[in-house]
């Protein structure tokens, strides 16, 4: 049974990663046809870094991803604090409502945001409302639930006495938050930020509906590349993008593992303390 499990796990992993591997191999292939291996080369990467069209688009994607994930993290953390302070029933309702956008089909979110922006545009009599700002708003919108989802558990894991102790020792509520609470929930904030960064970097569906002529991101532009066969430098670009996201995910897992270890150490120490006190 154990060997079966192992084989099955490997099969699933292979199934998941084969497309990426094929893409990565094709990016090193010295020819345009991904099915025929014509020798190892790095020219595709060289061409990519000399390309004047793709690199600015990639930069655009990064700009949107960084700004939207930072803003979403700030807003989401605030929202999580508010939700944490609510009564249990209210909390459940609000969490339910914030989770809906996660399961909502992206295309519905995209179309409704586009309609909303167009509507606001006509109200404000601005005919060119779609652009960088609308793209940013849309990305913040779909990033928010991820941040809330990763920060709220940290808040409930936190010992509420810590904050009260800080208040007792003379902190204002704001100081108590920045000196105590934020350190406790930092792992949640960081993983929320990284998560929303990756979501935003590769988002296509929602961006497709809300982007404007002034600002285009990479996935949207690549989707329209239908008039000519894909050039191998695009494989190189995707490989790099995949590696970047992989890096972020590994980082996130490492952080989480470290946090878990720290917590278990703290719990053991704390438990020991309590036991000692009980014995006294």
């Amino acid at each position: 049974m154990r060997t079966f499990n192992k084989v099955f796990t490997i099969l699933v992993l292979v199934f998941l990663y084969i497309p990426m591997i094929v893409l990565a191999v094709a990016s090193f292939n010295n020819g345009t046809d991904p099915a025929v291996w014509q020798g190892f080369t790095l020219t595709n990467y060289g061409e990519l870094f000399r390309d004047g069209v793709l690199l600015p688009l990639l930069a655009n994607s990064f700009i949107v991803a960084v700004i939207s994930s930072l803003l979403a993290t700030a807003l989401g953390t605030m929202a999580a604090l508010g939700i944490h302070a609510m009564g249990p029933r209210m909390k459940r309702t609000v969490m339910g409502v914030t989770n809906i956008p996660l399961t909502n089909p992206e295309i519905v979110t995209g179309v409704s945001l586009a309609l909303l922006f167009a509507f606001v545009g006509t109200l404000l009599k601005v005919s060119n409302v779609l652009g960088f700002v609308t793209l940013l708003i849309a990305h913040i919108t779909f990033n928010l639930p991820y941040v809330i989802l990763s920060v709220t558990p940290k808040l409930s894991q936190m010992d509420p006495d810590l904050r009260e102790a800080a208040l007792d020792l003379g902190c204002t509520p704001a100081q108590a938050f920045f000196k105590v609470v934020i350190h406790e929930i930092m792992p949640g904030i960081v993983s929320g930020a990284l998560m929303s960064f990756t979501m935003s970097l590769d988002d296509f569906v929602i961006s497709y509906f809300v982007y404007g002529p002034n600002f285009v991101t990479l996935p949207v532009e690549i989707y329209n590349y239908t008039k000519k066969p894909l050039q191998p430098k695009i494989y190189a670009l995707f490989t790099l993008l995949f590696l970047a996201i992989l890096l972020v995910m590994v980082l996130m897992n490492l952080l989480e593992a470290k946090d878990d270890r720290q917590q278990s150490v703290a719990r053991r120490a704390f438990g020991g303390l309590r036991k000692e006190r009980a014995e006294e």
């Binding site: 345009t32 046809d33 099915a35 025929v36 390309d51 004047g52 069209v53 700009i63 960084v66 700004i67 930072l70 803003l71 700030a74 586009a114 309609l115 922006f117 167009a118 545009g121 006509t122 005919s127 060119n128 409302v129 779609l130 652009g131 960088f132 700002v133 609308t134 940013l136 920045f178 934020i182 509906f209 809300v210 982007y211 404007g212 002529p213 002034n214 600002f215 285009v216 532009e221 989707y223 329209n224 590349y225 239908t226 008039k227 000519k228 066969p229």
Partner: protein
């Protein structure tokens, strides 16, 4: 913490600046075109938009779409305005009929005089009030001369030839696929007659057992690698395939063929009509048109542009067919919505008739049965285990 906050503030400031900088540089126009449908400076070609900005000082915001239909949706949704769009013939007709285009002021487009008469007064814009041709091309048959007998070529019948069963590719969109069969049967490509359309769909169903697959862009790989030998496709794309595999040949069928024109238009709500007309005029400049289309591989509607093109392309009968050849071509116009709905429904019938889709059904069935079997086996085993446990309990209890 303060560092983090100040960083955030910095980023906010940057983000606030960004859209401003986009508007700051004087005049701008928004151009909405097919993806990869303009020479962008790669492989030593001319960067058309940069050249335009250099000459006029007008900045170009360039946006792309993947099909006429998605461009139409974006226009209809609103929220953004465009100064120049480049739809295909039938979409131009549709936009005109829905009043979505501005009339062009030809005074501002003096280079229109270079456009050949053959591409003026087309059915989609009979009086040339709304559009200026950008590129055009033909749909013909691509075949591999290594495997296909030359005596079999010359007609659409090659696509129905049983000798080459399993080596034939076909368009994967209803309009182009129907046009192929319509031309073969001698029916007008813009017919609205329901019986004709049904007859065409029977012809396509008759062809289905011979077809290897219905494809669009995968045609490049399949033809270049000789997995398939025969396919109907656009002449411009054929030239790129032939560069990879010189055995590939192309002909325009004698029964008639589709001639498509992509044309530049100005949509209603445009912000800067003068600059938009300047842009259209710029693209009609023979020198620009020649270099641009040399890169794209499509044909230019401007004869004077040929001197700026690669001489091989300019003299090729595929890229620049003669007037006599072209007289056999007919262009699409917009079909009324009932006709296109009927066509979509018939196309669905063609695609779902037997064949591959059965496999999907069988697979689904197999998976379903396997799951059901697994669940029953597990249920039975669990019951047995519980029963066993109960047996063990009994003596202890007593």
């Amino acid at each position: 913490m303060k560092k983090l906050l100040s960083m955030l503030l910095c980023l906010l400031a940057v983000s606030a600046m960004f859209p401003v900088s986009a508007f700051a540089a004087g005049e701008t126009i928004n151009v909405y075109n097919w993806g990869q449908y303009i020479s962008d400076g790669s492989d030593g070609s001319i960067d058309v938009n940069a050249e335009f900005t250099k000459r006029t000082g007008i900045k170009v915001n360039y946006m792309t779409y993947d099909s006429n239909e998605s461009m139409y949706t974006k226009l209809k949704t609103g929220g953004s305005t465009y100064d120049v769009i480049i739809p295909s013939d039938y979409m131009v007709a549709r936009l005109i009929s829905e009043g979505m285009l501005e009339k062009l002021d030809m005074e501002n487009i003096p280079n229109y005089k270079y456009v050949d008469e053959a591409y003026k007064n087309q059915a989609y814009d009979p009086s040339n009030e709304y559009s200026v041709p950008y590129t055009w091309g033909t749909v013909g048959v691509i075949y591999n001369s290594k495997y296909v007998d030359v005596s079999d070529t010359g007609s659409w019948s090659l696509l129905w030839n049983k000798k080459y069963a399993g080596k034939i590719l076909m368009f994967d969109n209803p309009r182009d696929a129907f046009a192929v069969a319509e031309e073969y049967l001698g029916i007008d490509v813009n017919t609205v007659n329901a019986d004709d359309l049904r007859a065409v769909s029977y012809k396509l169903i008759e062809q289905k057992p011979l077809v290897q697959s219905y494809v669009m862009d995968q045609i490049y790989d399949k033809m270049e690698r000789e997995e398939a030998w025969i396919a109907p496709y656009y002449a411009g794309d054929y030239l790129q395939m032939a560069a990879e595999n010189p055995d590939l040949k192309f002909y325009l069928p004698k029964e008639g063929f589709n001639l498509f024109i992509d044309a530049m238009c100005i949509p209603k709500g445009c912000q800067n009509k003068k600059a938009a007309e300047e842009y259209i005029n710029f693209l009609c400049d023979p020198e620009i048109s020649g270099q641009n289309l040399d890169y794209l591989g499509y044909s230019t509607p401007i004869s004077d542009a040929k001197q700026y093109m690669d001489p091989d392309t300019a003299s090729s009968e595929v890229a620049c067919p003669s007037k006599e050849t072209l007289s056999g071509g007919s262009s699409f116009i917009n079909l009324p919505s009932e006709t296109s709905q009927q066509m979509d429904a018939l196309w669905l019938q063609v695609k779902t008739q037997g064949g591959v889709d059965d496999y999907a059904l069988w697979c689904m069935g197999a998976i379903f049965i396997a799951m059901a079997a697994y669940l029953t086996v597990r249920g039975v085993r669990r019951k047995r285990r519980i029963a066993n446990r109960c047996k063990k309990w009994k003596p202890q209890a007593s």
